[in-house]
Protein backbone atom coordinates (compact mmCIF):
# COMPACT_ATOMS: atom_id res chain seq x y z
CA UNK A 1 0.00 0.00 0.00
CA UNK A 2 1.02 3.62 -0.33
CA UNK A 3 0.81 6.34 2.29
CA UNK A 4 0.86 9.17 -0.25
CA UNK A 5 -2.33 11.15 0.27
CA UNK A 6 -2.26 14.25 -1.98
CA UNK A 7 -0.24 16.53 -4.22
CA UNK A 8 0.58 19.85 -2.56
CA UNK A 9 1.72 23.09 -4.21
CA UNK A 10 5.16 24.04 -2.90
CA UNK A 11 4.28 27.72 -3.25
CA UNK A 12 0.71 28.26 -2.07
CA UNK A 13 0.05 24.94 -0.28
CA UNK A 14 -3.13 24.08 -2.21
CA UNK A 15 -3.74 20.35 -2.36
CA UNK A 16 -4.78 18.23 -5.32
CA UNK A 17 -5.80 14.62 -5.86
CA UNK A 18 -3.01 12.19 -6.76
CA UNK A 19 -3.22 12.55 -10.56
CA UNK A 20 -0.71 12.92 -13.42
CA UNK A 21 -0.44 16.69 -12.98
CA UNK A 22 2.61 18.74 -12.08
CA UNK A 23 1.76 22.39 -11.50
CA UNK A 24 -0.71 24.34 -9.40
CA UNK A 25 -3.54 25.79 -11.46
CA UNK A 26 -3.65 28.92 -9.26
CA UNK A 27 -0.04 30.04 -8.93
CA UNK A 28 1.65 27.65 -11.41
CA UNK A 29 3.95 26.46 -8.58
CA UNK A 30 5.33 22.90 -8.63
CA UNK A 31 3.40 20.09 -6.95
CA UNK A 32 4.96 17.71 -4.47
CA UNK A 33 3.66 14.48 -2.92
CA UNK A 34 2.31 14.75 0.64
CA UNK A 35 2.26 11.67 2.87
CA UNK A 36 0.49 10.33 5.93
CA UNK A 37 3.59 10.22 8.13
CA UNK A 38 1.71 8.88 11.15
CA UNK A 39 0.60 5.94 9.05
CA UNK A 40 4.15 5.32 7.85
CA UNK A 41 5.48 5.62 11.42
CA UNK A 42 3.08 2.90 12.53
CA UNK A 43 3.79 0.66 9.54
CA UNK A 44 7.58 0.50 9.41
CA UNK A 45 10.61 0.04 11.63
CA UNK A 46 14.35 -0.31 11.18
CA UNK A 47 13.85 -4.04 11.45
CA UNK A 48 11.12 -4.25 8.79
CA UNK A 49 13.25 -2.22 6.37
CA UNK A 50 16.32 -4.39 7.01
CA UNK A 51 14.26 -7.46 6.13
CA UNK A 52 13.18 -5.89 2.81
CA UNK A 53 14.63 -6.40 -0.67
CA UNK A 54 18.16 -5.17 -1.40
CA UNK A 55 16.78 -2.46 -3.69
CA UNK A 56 15.10 0.90 -3.15
CA UNK A 57 11.81 -0.98 -2.82
CA UNK A 58 12.84 -1.78 0.77
CA UNK A 59 11.39 1.71 1.42
CA UNK A 60 8.09 0.94 -0.37
CA UNK A 61 5.93 2.50 2.39
CA UNK A 62 7.76 5.78 1.85
CA UNK A 63 7.25 5.79 -1.94
CA UNK A 64 4.25 7.42 -3.68
CA UNK A 65 3.10 4.36 -5.61
CA UNK A 66 1.61 0.94 -5.17
CA UNK A 67 4.55 -1.53 -5.19
CA UNK A 68 2.34 -4.01 -7.05
CA UNK A 69 3.14 -1.95 -10.17
CA UNK A 70 6.90 -1.81 -9.65
CA UNK A 71 9.42 -2.67 -12.37
CA UNK A 72 12.49 -3.46 -10.32
CA UNK A 73 15.71 -4.00 -12.26
CA UNK A 74 17.61 -4.01 -8.98
CA UNK A 75 17.43 -0.24 -8.60
CA UNK A 76 19.14 1.49 -5.70
CA UNK A 77 20.57 0.17 -2.43
CA UNK A 78 24.00 0.91 -3.85
CA UNK A 79 27.19 0.69 -1.74
CA UNK A 80 28.26 3.42 0.66
CA UNK A 81 32.04 3.15 0.57
CA UNK A 82 34.44 4.51 3.16
CA UNK A 83 36.84 6.51 1.02
CA UNK A 84 39.98 6.75 3.19
CA UNK A 85 42.50 7.35 0.41
CA UNK A 86 40.39 10.09 -1.19
CA UNK A 87 39.74 11.60 2.27
CA UNK A 88 43.47 11.79 2.91
CA UNK A 89 44.15 13.29 -0.53
CA UNK A 90 41.73 16.17 0.00
CA UNK A 91 42.12 16.70 3.74
CA UNK A 92 39.14 15.10 5.47
CA UNK A 93 39.10 12.70 8.42
CA UNK A 94 36.05 10.74 7.31
CA UNK A 95 34.60 10.60 3.80
CA UNK A 96 32.05 8.23 2.31
CA UNK A 97 31.24 7.79 -1.36
CA UNK A 98 27.68 6.84 -2.27
CA UNK A 99 28.41 4.81 -5.37
CA UNK A 100 25.39 5.13 -7.64
CA UNK A 101 27.45 4.14 -10.68
CA UNK A 102 26.42 0.53 -10.02
CA UNK A 103 22.71 0.99 -10.71
CA UNK A 104 21.20 -1.18 -13.49
CA UNK A 105 21.74 1.49 -16.17
CA UNK A 106 24.74 2.93 -14.32
CA UNK A 107 23.21 6.11 -12.92
CA UNK A 108 20.99 7.39 -10.11
CA UNK A 109 18.25 7.98 -12.69
CA UNK A 110 17.18 4.38 -12.11
CA UNK A 111 15.85 5.53 -8.74
CA UNK A 112 13.53 8.17 -10.15
CA UNK A 113 12.49 6.10 -13.16
CA UNK A 114 11.73 3.06 -11.00
CA UNK A 115 9.19 5.15 -9.09
CA UNK A 116 7.89 7.04 -12.15
CA UNK A 117 7.21 3.90 -14.16
CA UNK A 118 5.42 2.22 -11.25
CA UNK A 119 3.19 5.28 -10.87
CA UNK A 120 2.62 5.50 -14.64
CA UNK A 121 1.45 1.87 -14.66
CA UNK A 122 -0.77 2.52 -11.65
CA UNK A 123 -2.36 5.46 -13.52
CA UNK A 124 -2.99 3.14 -16.48
CA UNK A 125 -0.54 4.67 -18.98
CA UNK A 126 0.65 2.26 -21.65
CA UNK A 127 3.41 4.53 -22.94
CA UNK A 128 6.26 6.32 -21.22
CA UNK A 129 8.41 9.16 -22.57
CA UNK A 130 11.27 11.48 -21.71
CA UNK A 131 13.63 14.10 -23.13
CA UNK A 132 17.23 13.53 -22.17
CA UNK A 133 20.89 13.94 -22.99
CA UNK A 134 21.78 10.45 -21.76
CA UNK A 135 21.24 8.92 -18.33
CA UNK A 136 17.50 9.48 -18.09
CA UNK A 137 16.96 8.17 -21.63
CA UNK A 138 18.96 5.01 -20.84
CA UNK A 139 16.98 4.33 -17.68
CA UNK A 140 13.53 5.03 -19.14
CA UNK A 141 14.28 2.84 -22.17
CA UNK A 142 15.46 -0.07 -19.99
CA UNK A 143 12.55 0.07 -17.55
CA UNK A 144 10.00 0.44 -20.35
CA UNK A 145 11.48 -2.63 -22.05
CA UNK A 146 11.25 -4.65 -18.84
CA UNK A 147 7.65 -3.48 -18.32
CA UNK A 148 6.66 -4.11 -21.96
CA UNK A 149 5.53 -0.49 -22.34
CA UNK A 150 5.73 1.69 -25.45
CA UNK A 151 8.57 4.14 -25.03
CA UNK A 152 9.36 7.48 -26.70
CA UNK A 153 12.75 9.02 -26.08
CA UNK A 154 13.69 12.47 -27.37
CA UNK A 155 17.37 13.35 -27.61
CA UNK A 156 19.35 16.22 -29.13
CA UNK A 157 20.71 15.25 -32.57
CA UNK A 158 24.36 15.91 -31.63
CA UNK A 159 24.56 13.29 -28.86
CA UNK A 160 27.60 11.01 -28.53
CA UNK A 161 27.22 7.54 -30.06
CA UNK A 162 27.60 5.80 -26.70
CA UNK A 163 24.59 7.56 -25.27
CA UNK A 164 22.47 6.86 -28.35
CA UNK A 165 23.34 3.16 -28.22
CA UNK A 166 22.76 3.10 -24.45
CA UNK A 167 19.10 3.86 -25.11
CA UNK A 168 18.70 2.31 -28.58
CA UNK A 169 19.63 -1.17 -27.38
CA UNK A 170 16.35 -1.38 -25.44
CA UNK A 171 14.45 -0.57 -28.67
CA UNK A 172 12.41 2.50 -27.72
CA UNK A 173 11.11 4.90 -30.36
CA UNK A 174 14.19 7.08 -30.43
CA UNK A 175 13.71 10.60 -31.77
CA UNK A 176 16.64 12.92 -32.49
CA UNK A 177 15.61 16.56 -32.43
CA UNK A 178 17.23 19.21 -34.60
CA UNK A 179 17.29 22.56 -32.87
CA UNK A 180 18.59 24.44 -29.90
CA UNK A 181 18.35 23.18 -26.35
CA UNK A 182 15.46 25.59 -25.73
CA UNK A 183 13.67 24.28 -28.84
CA UNK A 184 13.86 20.71 -27.52
CA UNK A 185 12.48 21.82 -24.14
CA UNK A 186 9.59 23.62 -25.81
CA UNK A 187 8.81 20.74 -28.17
CA UNK A 188 8.71 18.13 -25.41
CA UNK A 189 6.47 20.24 -23.20
CA UNK A 190 4.09 20.66 -26.14
CA UNK A 191 4.12 16.94 -26.93
CA UNK A 192 3.43 16.07 -23.29
CA UNK A 193 0.14 17.97 -23.59
CA UNK A 194 -0.86 16.38 -26.90
CA UNK A 195 -0.12 12.71 -26.28
CA UNK A 196 -1.46 10.27 -23.68
CA UNK A 197 2.01 9.39 -22.44
CA UNK A 198 3.57 9.44 -19.00
CA UNK A 199 6.34 11.97 -19.60
CA UNK A 200 8.53 11.07 -16.64
CA UNK A 201 9.77 14.53 -15.76
CA UNK A 202 6.70 16.49 -16.86
CA UNK A 203 3.26 15.09 -16.02
CA UNK A 204 4.51 12.45 -13.57
CA UNK A 205 7.35 14.62 -12.28
CA UNK A 206 5.98 14.95 -8.70
CA UNK A 207 6.21 11.14 -8.32
CA UNK A 208 9.41 10.72 -10.34
CA UNK A 209 11.27 13.24 -8.18
CA UNK A 210 10.40 11.33 -5.01
CA UNK A 211 12.67 8.46 -6.09
CA UNK A 212 15.74 10.55 -5.22
CA UNK A 213 14.75 10.57 -1.54
CA UNK A 214 15.95 6.96 -1.43
CA UNK A 215 19.53 8.30 -1.64
CA UNK A 216 18.94 10.04 1.69
CA UNK A 217 17.24 6.95 3.16
CA UNK A 218 20.11 4.68 2.13
CA UNK A 219 22.87 6.98 3.36
CA UNK A 220 21.21 7.14 6.80
CA UNK A 221 20.54 3.40 6.98
CA UNK A 222 24.03 2.47 5.77
CA UNK A 223 25.65 4.79 8.32
CA UNK A 224 23.87 2.80 11.04
CA UNK A 225 20.62 4.80 11.18
CA UNK A 226 22.02 8.31 11.47
CA UNK A 227 22.66 11.32 9.23
CA UNK A 228 26.17 12.53 8.33
CA UNK A 229 27.53 16.02 9.10
CA UNK A 230 27.78 17.06 5.46
CA UNK A 231 26.58 15.84 2.06
CA UNK A 232 27.90 17.07 -1.29
CA UNK A 233 25.68 16.29 -4.26
CA UNK A 234 25.70 17.32 -7.92
CA UNK A 235 23.00 19.75 -9.06
CA UNK A 236 21.29 19.89 -12.46
CA UNK A 237 17.63 20.78 -11.86
CA UNK A 238 18.42 20.74 -8.13
CA UNK A 239 15.79 18.07 -7.58
CA UNK A 240 18.03 15.23 -6.35
CA UNK A 241 19.95 17.62 -4.08
CA UNK A 242 16.73 18.79 -2.40
CA UNK A 243 15.16 15.33 -2.20
CA UNK A 244 18.14 13.82 -0.35
CA UNK A 245 17.51 16.33 2.43
CA UNK A 246 13.77 15.68 2.31
CA UNK A 247 14.55 11.97 2.73
CA UNK A 248 16.67 12.58 5.82
CA UNK A 249 13.99 14.78 7.38
CA UNK A 250 11.31 12.18 6.66
CA UNK A 251 13.37 9.41 8.23
CA UNK A 252 13.36 11.53 11.38
CA UNK A 253 9.62 12.24 11.07
CA UNK A 254 8.78 8.53 10.99
CA UNK A 255 11.04 7.77 13.93
CA UNK A 256 13.92 6.03 12.19
CA UNK A 257 16.74 8.50 12.95
CA UNK A 258 17.46 11.43 15.29
CA UNK A 259 16.87 14.93 13.93
CA UNK A 260 19.39 15.47 11.09
CA UNK A 261 21.71 18.49 11.20
CA UNK A 262 23.40 17.70 7.91
CA UNK A 263 24.84 20.62 5.98
CA UNK A 264 23.82 20.17 2.35
CA UNK A 265 26.19 21.44 -0.34
CA UNK A 266 25.72 21.38 -4.10
CA UNK A 267 28.12 21.03 -7.02
CA UNK A 268 27.90 22.43 -10.56
CA UNK A 269 30.17 22.88 -13.57
CA UNK A 270 31.12 26.47 -14.39
CA UNK A 271 29.71 26.07 -17.90
CA UNK A 272 26.25 25.53 -16.45
CA UNK A 273 26.09 26.97 -12.97
CA UNK A 274 22.87 28.95 -12.47
CA UNK A 275 22.46 27.70 -8.90
CA UNK A 276 26.09 28.03 -7.77
CA UNK A 277 26.31 31.48 -9.37
CA UNK A 278 23.17 32.64 -7.53
CA UNK A 279 24.64 31.25 -4.29
CA UNK A 280 27.85 33.21 -4.92
CA UNK A 281 25.73 36.35 -5.43
CA UNK A 282 23.80 35.63 -2.23
CA UNK A 283 20.39 35.52 -3.91
CA UNK A 284 17.61 32.93 -4.16
CA UNK A 285 16.74 34.08 -7.69
CA UNK A 286 18.94 32.44 -10.29
CA UNK A 287 19.48 33.69 -13.85
CA UNK A 288 18.97 30.93 -16.47
CA UNK A 289 22.10 30.08 -18.50
CA UNK A 290 22.93 28.54 -21.86
CA UNK A 291 24.81 25.33 -20.93
CA UNK A 292 28.36 24.86 -22.23
CA UNK A 293 30.18 22.13 -20.30
CA UNK A 294 31.43 18.57 -20.72
CA UNK A 295 29.22 17.67 -17.74
CA UNK A 296 26.19 17.26 -19.98
CA UNK A 297 24.24 15.27 -17.42
CA UNK A 298 24.19 18.44 -15.28
CA UNK A 299 23.52 20.83 -18.18
CA UNK A 300 20.21 22.28 -17.08
CA UNK A 301 20.31 26.02 -17.71
CA UNK A 302 16.88 26.76 -16.25
CA UNK A 303 16.68 24.49 -13.19
CA UNK A 304 13.17 23.64 -11.96
CA UNK A 305 14.27 23.33 -8.35
CA UNK A 306 16.92 26.05 -8.40
CA UNK A 307 15.06 28.28 -5.94
CA UNK A 308 14.43 25.39 -3.54
CA UNK A 309 18.06 24.28 -3.76
CA UNK A 310 19.25 27.78 -2.84
CA UNK A 311 16.74 27.93 0.00
CA UNK A 312 18.01 24.58 1.28
CA UNK A 313 21.58 25.88 1.37
CA UNK A 314 20.38 28.71 3.60
CA UNK A 315 18.33 26.38 5.80
CA UNK A 316 21.04 23.75 6.34
CA UNK A 317 24.15 25.94 6.43
CA UNK A 318 25.42 24.30 3.26
CA UNK A 319 26.88 25.98 0.21
CA UNK A 320 27.61 25.60 -3.48
CA UNK A 321 30.72 25.41 -5.61
CA UNK A 322 31.55 25.19 -9.28
CA UNK A 323 34.47 23.76 -11.25
CA UNK A 324 35.97 24.20 -14.71
CA UNK A 325 35.89 21.37 -17.25
CA UNK A 326 39.59 20.71 -16.53
CA UNK A 327 38.78 20.36 -12.84
CA UNK A 328 35.97 17.96 -13.76
CA UNK A 329 38.51 15.69 -15.47
CA UNK A 330 40.88 15.99 -12.48
CA UNK A 331 38.01 15.05 -10.17
CA UNK A 332 37.14 11.95 -12.20
CA UNK A 333 40.78 10.86 -12.18
CA UNK A 334 41.26 11.54 -8.47
CA UNK A 335 38.24 9.40 -7.54
CA UNK A 336 39.35 6.61 -9.86
CA UNK A 337 42.99 6.64 -8.71
CA UNK A 338 42.23 6.78 -4.99
CA UNK A 339 39.05 4.68 -4.67
CA UNK A 340 38.80 2.58 -7.83
CA UNK A 341 35.50 4.16 -8.84
CA UNK A 342 35.11 5.37 -12.43
CA UNK A 343 32.52 8.14 -12.47
CA UNK A 344 31.00 10.08 -15.33
CA UNK A 345 31.52 13.84 -15.60
CA UNK A 346 28.93 14.63 -12.90
CA UNK A 347 31.08 12.63 -10.45
CA UNK A 348 34.08 14.73 -11.45
CA UNK A 349 32.03 17.84 -10.71
CA UNK A 350 31.13 16.53 -7.26
CA UNK A 351 34.70 15.55 -6.34
CA UNK A 352 36.13 18.79 -7.78
CA UNK A 353 33.68 20.89 -5.77
CA UNK A 354 34.18 18.78 -2.63
CA UNK A 355 37.92 19.39 -2.91
CA UNK A 356 37.37 23.15 -3.20
CA UNK A 357 34.91 23.23 -0.30
CA UNK A 358 37.45 21.46 1.93
CA UNK A 359 40.39 23.57 0.71
CA UNK A 360 38.50 26.79 1.48
CA UNK A 361 37.64 25.55 4.98
CA UNK A 362 33.89 25.59 4.25
CA UNK A 363 33.87 21.87 5.06
CA UNK A 364 35.95 21.31 8.20
CA UNK A 365 38.40 18.40 8.37
CA UNK A 366 36.40 16.76 11.16
CA UNK A 367 33.01 16.87 9.40
CA UNK A 368 31.91 13.39 8.39
CA UNK A 369 31.06 13.90 4.72
CA UNK A 370 29.22 11.91 2.06
CA UNK A 371 29.85 12.55 -1.66
CA UNK A 372 27.10 11.46 -4.05
CA UNK A 373 28.55 9.87 -7.19
CA UNK A 374 25.59 9.71 -9.54
CA UNK A 375 26.73 7.93 -12.72
CA UNK A 376 29.29 5.58 -14.26
CA UNK A 377 32.32 6.67 -16.27
CA UNK A 378 31.84 4.46 -19.31
CA UNK A 379 29.04 6.82 -20.33
CA UNK A 380 31.46 9.70 -20.86
CA UNK A 381 34.80 8.13 -21.80
CA UNK A 382 35.53 10.87 -24.33
CA UNK A 383 35.82 13.35 -21.43
CA UNK A 384 38.91 11.62 -20.05
CA UNK A 385 40.28 9.52 -22.94
CA UNK A 386 42.86 12.14 -23.95
CA UNK A 387 43.96 12.82 -20.37
CA UNK A 388 45.31 9.38 -19.47
CA UNK A 389 48.87 8.05 -19.33
CA UNK A 390 49.86 6.56 -22.69
CA UNK A 391 50.15 2.74 -22.50
CA UNK A 392 53.62 1.23 -22.86
CA UNK A 393 53.94 -0.18 -26.37
CA UNK A 394 56.32 -3.18 -26.45
CA UNK A 395 57.26 -6.15 -28.58
CA UNK A 396 56.53 -9.52 -26.90
CA UNK A 397 59.80 -10.02 -25.01
CA UNK A 398 61.00 -9.21 -21.49
CA UNK A 399 63.92 -7.01 -22.60
CA UNK A 400 61.56 -4.72 -24.50
CA UNK A 401 59.26 -4.47 -21.48
CA UNK A 402 62.16 -3.75 -19.10
CA UNK A 403 63.51 -1.10 -21.42
CA UNK A 404 60.09 0.54 -21.74
CA UNK A 405 59.75 0.56 -17.93
CA UNK A 406 63.20 2.14 -17.54
CA UNK A 407 62.26 4.84 -20.05
CA UNK A 408 58.93 5.48 -18.27
CA UNK A 409 60.60 5.77 -14.87
CA UNK A 410 63.25 8.09 -16.26
CA UNK A 411 60.58 10.31 -17.77
CA UNK A 412 58.72 10.40 -14.43
CA UNK A 413 61.92 11.40 -12.61
CA UNK A 414 62.60 13.99 -15.31
CA UNK A 415 59.11 15.39 -14.82
CA UNK A 416 59.77 15.65 -11.09
CA UNK A 417 57.26 12.93 -10.18
Amino acid sequence: MTFSRALRCRECGREYELKPIFSCEYCFGPLEVAYDYDGIHAAISRDSIERGPKTLWRYAELLPCDPAYKVDLGDGYTPLIKADRLAKAIGLDTLWVKNDTVNPTWSFKDRVVSVAIAKAREFGFSAIACASTGNLANSVSAHAAAAGMDCFVFIPDDLEQGKVVGSGIYNPTLVTVRGSYDDVNRLCTELSMEHPWAFVNINVRPYYAEGSRTLGFEVAEQLGWRAPDHIVAPMASGSMYTKIWKGLQEFHKVGLIDEPHTRMSGAQAEGCSPISTAYAHDTLNFVPQKPNTIARSLAIGNPADGYYALKQMQDTGGGAEMVTDDEVVEGIKLLAETEGIFAETAGGVTIGCLKKLVASGFIKRGEETVAIISGGGLKTVEAVADHLEEPLHVTPNAAAFNEAMRARQASLVGAGA
Binding site: G29, Y181, N185, A236, I300
Partner: protein, 81 residues
Protein backbone atom coordinates in the same frame (compact mmCIF):
# COMPACT_ATOMS: atom_id res chain seq x y z
CA UNK B 1 -8.23 31.95 -28.26
CA UNK B 2 -5.02 30.42 -26.99
CA UNK B 3 -3.49 30.37 -23.55
CA UNK B 4 0.23 30.23 -22.82
CA UNK B 5 2.38 30.22 -19.70
CA UNK B 6 5.88 31.67 -19.83
CA UNK B 7 8.61 32.69 -17.44
CA UNK B 8 10.25 36.05 -18.14
CA UNK B 9 13.66 36.85 -16.68
CA UNK B 10 14.74 40.50 -16.50
CA UNK B 11 18.27 41.80 -16.12
CA UNK B 12 18.75 44.66 -13.60
CA UNK B 13 18.72 47.21 -16.45
CA UNK B 14 15.26 46.03 -17.53
CA UNK B 15 13.65 45.72 -14.12
CA UNK B 16 12.43 49.35 -14.17
CA UNK B 17 10.93 49.14 -17.66
CA UNK B 18 7.16 48.51 -17.82
CA UNK B 19 7.60 45.62 -20.27
CA UNK B 20 4.43 43.73 -19.36
CA UNK B 21 2.32 46.90 -19.42
CA UNK B 22 3.68 47.77 -22.86
CA UNK B 23 3.12 44.24 -24.10
CA UNK B 24 -0.54 44.47 -23.14
CA UNK B 25 -0.89 47.80 -24.96
CA UNK B 26 1.02 46.98 -28.12
CA UNK B 27 -0.48 43.52 -28.66
CA UNK B 28 -3.95 42.10 -28.19
CA UNK B 29 -3.01 39.81 -25.32
CA UNK B 30 -4.33 39.58 -21.79
CA UNK B 31 -1.53 39.25 -19.24
CA UNK B 32 -1.90 37.72 -15.79
CA UNK B 33 1.01 37.49 -13.34
CA UNK B 34 0.96 34.27 -11.28
CA UNK B 35 4.35 34.36 -9.54
CA UNK B 36 7.14 36.91 -9.44
CA UNK B 37 10.23 38.01 -7.57
CA UNK B 38 12.79 40.75 -7.91
CA UNK B 39 16.09 41.48 -6.19
CA UNK B 40 19.26 43.43 -6.90
CA UNK B 41 20.57 41.10 -9.58
CA UNK B 42 17.51 39.69 -11.34
CA UNK B 43 13.74 39.80 -11.65
CA UNK B 44 11.40 37.11 -12.94
CA UNK B 45 7.72 36.73 -13.64
CA UNK B 46 5.59 33.69 -14.40
CA UNK B 47 2.98 35.03 -16.76
CA UNK B 48 -0.23 33.70 -18.29
CA UNK B 49 -1.01 35.07 -21.74
CA UNK B 50 -4.39 34.85 -23.42
CA UNK B 51 -5.08 35.82 -27.00
CA UNK B 52 -4.84 34.63 -30.60
CA UNK B 53 -1.90 32.25 -30.97
CA UNK B 54 -0.13 34.43 -33.59
CA UNK B 55 -0.59 37.53 -31.46
CA UNK B 56 0.91 35.77 -28.40
CA UNK B 57 3.91 34.70 -30.49
CA UNK B 58 4.37 38.27 -31.78
CA UNK B 59 4.15 39.61 -28.24
CA UNK B 60 6.79 37.12 -27.04
CA UNK B 61 9.06 37.88 -29.97
CA UNK B 62 8.81 41.60 -29.12
CA UNK B 63 9.57 40.76 -25.46
CA UNK B 64 12.69 38.84 -26.50
CA UNK B 65 13.76 41.77 -28.68
CA UNK B 66 13.71 43.97 -25.57
CA UNK B 67 16.38 41.69 -24.06
CA UNK B 68 14.05 39.76 -21.76
CA UNK B 69 14.66 36.00 -21.57
CA UNK B 70 11.50 34.01 -22.32
CA UNK B 71 11.29 30.42 -21.08
CA UNK B 72 8.69 27.79 -21.81
CA UNK B 73 7.94 25.68 -19.83
CA UNK B 74 7.64 27.84 -16.73
CA UNK B 75 8.80 25.10 -14.35
CA UNK B 76 12.26 24.76 -15.91
CA UNK B 77 14.04 22.62 -18.50
CA UNK B 78 12.51 19.25 -19.29
CA UNK B 79 15.56 17.89 -21.13
CA UNK B 80 17.46 16.09 -18.37
CA UNK B 81 20.85 14.41 -18.19
Amino acid sequence: MANKHVRLTFTPQLVQEPVIYNMGHQFKVITSIRMAAVDQSVGWVVLELEGEEDEIERALEWTRSKGVRVDEPTLGDVVEG
